[in-house]
Symmetry: C2
Subunit: 111 residues, 2 copies
């Protein structure tokens, strides 16, 4: 009825409250969007791209791992430890959901 491009009806708007807070947090949204875009990335790359501090990045990644949104694989590049991160299928799907949710909500008329 309201059609794509029309204002979101109130019930749709209300759903904003159910949005996945884990992904909604800007720092994590950035991480997840980045991972969705590049497939996988190591810690150093993520830190450079996001501009987050190590502590901050580390804790957000830990949280994302706990929730099975991100898979973290620790390995060695030569003798130097390396942490490679990628989205799990859950994470990918959660991001997709989040995105379409957000698009629907934000997609209304310019008013």
């Amino acid at each position: 009825m309201a059609g794509r491009g029309g204002p979101a009806p109130a019930e749709d708007l209300q759903r904003i409250l159910d949005v996945d807070r884990l992904i909604h947090e800007p720092a994590r949204l950035l991480i997840v969007a980045l991972l969705a875009s590049v497939g996988e990335a190591d810690f150093v790359f993520l830190q450079r791209e996001t501009g987050l501090t190590k502590g901050n990045l580390s804790s957000h990644l830990a949280r994302l791992e706990q929730s099975d949104y991100v898979r973290i694989e620790k390995s060695f590049r030569g003798k130097i430890p390396q942490t490679v991160c990628s989205l799990t299928s859950e994470g990918r799907s959660a991001f997709k959901t989040y995105r379409s949710q957000m698009r629907r909500t934000m997609g209304g008329r310019p008013g």
Copy 2:
């Protein structure tokens, strides 16, 4: 350059960190979106539409008022107090900015 519809380049993604947290918070996003859509609304209407508790709604409105995003006018409907809320031009503009920011970020390819 990346063209609308392409993936957002890293610099664009990074800007997620600068989003207006005041609006980004789901409860307030809902309030603001609602106000943007209907023009103005009283407390009771907002509570019904959002499903927020009174306390929650009250404090979010107070915050939005403090930041000059929302104008709050107290009056009486008969003998009963009534609080009417509407977006200020600042609020409207902040919402617009937020929305286009979010659309740009979320608008990339499905990947």
